[in-house]
Amino acid sequence: MPHAPTQPAFDDQRFLAIRSLLVELAASLDRTERHASVGTASLTTDPRWKLVVAAIERLARGQGRAEDLQMLFSDPYEATWRRDGGPTLAGSPGCCGR
């Protein structure tokens, strides 16, 4: 690691931050399932929900989780894109006015 932090690897502050994120994630999942159960939405067939489920499973693995999740949420790159005429329209909201 080029620049190692000098602070303790795992202290109360970091534990509380991770705990908070996990509880927030758990509540978000519960909320989504609860709301879906009273509506017409079917989470089991929703590709976005499948991505969420796959992402949670990857959290249990070791180092590289953040990059793994980014790859999971990414469209694939085709090295032959120029020959194939380019990818179809996709587009996501983001910064710089998009």
Partner: protein, 290 residues
């Protein structure tokens, strides 16, 4: 700590934000040309915008002792109209000699379309023809990996391009390696929900080092934090990182990139000049940066 925000859209921010940036230690900002929230209909609409970021914003910034640099281009979102895009590209050289212009940007891809790729390539050619530095926008979310790799693929068509004069912006965990390994600068954008957080930016500094790495807010007219770079500084300090390391990322690195522009003058002189043009009796608050 003094710092530079190398990517922020001040045309979308109120004057109070300039004051806040100055209080936070910001000595310079650079403003890439971007989408206004609506598609401009004529090349003259772009000319007016280029005047705004080469004449008006430098004066607003100078009132708070901040140097304002800018980058010119037609952004990817308006590149679908290739005819208009080419008119804009033809008009850009009219503004390239403006004192605060650093180069061509933020060009790039948005939805990774054929037309976007065409306009991107033509603007890279424009930059090379005029010996300009380049700032590149990469797409968002699911499109980012593909778009970033497409951009690097297209840049490989220009073997004479000095990669040390090109920054690939909005990198995240899955794209930073592609930019750095190819020899480009990489910008980390601290932006709510869709981009990097200050903590994740700290992680990337720890993992990849501080060489050719920038951090910016991309503050604009959407939900964004113009003081995101100070957030990063605080997060780095909380981890116990050395002040010189933090300063390298938030001050030395952006100025090193800017200095690769053939028109570059240091922030104090830029702000002095713009302040004088604005008739700023107070002059530039340069003393706090001395």
């Amino acid at each position: 700590m003094h710092y530079v925000d190398p990517h922020i859209h001040m045309v979308s921010r109120i004057t109070d934000d300039y004051e806040t940036l100055a209080r936070m230690g910001c000595v310079a900002v650079s403003e890439p040309a971007f989408w206004a929230g609506f598609d401009r209909r004529t090349v003259d609409g772009f000319r007016d915008y280029f005047r705004q970021i080469t004449e008006v914003e430098p004066k607003r910034a100078a009132n708070y002792g901040i140097a304002h640099y800018s980058w010119l281009c037609i952004n990817a979102k308006e590149a679908e109209d290739v005819k208009l895009a080419r008119e804009v590209i033809a008009a850009i050289p009219e503004f390239l000699d403006a004192a605060n212009v650093l180069g061509i940007g933020e060009i790039g891809l948005n939805k990774n379309t054929r037309n976007e790729a065409t306009v991107f390539m033509e603007q890279v050619e424009l930059a090379i023809r005029h010996d300009e530095t380049i700032l590149i926008h990469t797409p968002h979310l699911a499109d980012k990996l593909r778009g970033t790799r497409m951009i690097i693929d297209m840049l490989s068509d220009f073997p004479s391009l000095d990669r040390g004069r090109v920054v690939i912006d909005h990198v995240e965990e899955h794209t930073i390696r592609h930019a750095l390994d190819a020899g480009y600068w990489a910008g980390m954008t601290l932006y709510p929900v869709t981009k990097c957080s200050p903590e994740r930016a700290c992680d990337l500094v720890e993992l990849y080092g501080s060489e050719r790495l920038l951090v910016n807010s991309a503050g604009d007219w959407g939900p964004s934090r113009p003081v995101a770079v100070p957030d990063f500084i605080v997060a780095m300090r909380a981890r116990g990182h050395a002040e010189h390391l933090i300063e390298k990322v938030v001050l030395d690195n952006p100025l090193a990139l800017f200095s690769r522009c053939r028109r570059y003058v240091p922030p104090t002189r830029v702000a002095d000049r713009a302040g004088a043009a604005a008739g700023n009796a107070r002059g530039v608050a340069a003393s706090h940066r001395a």
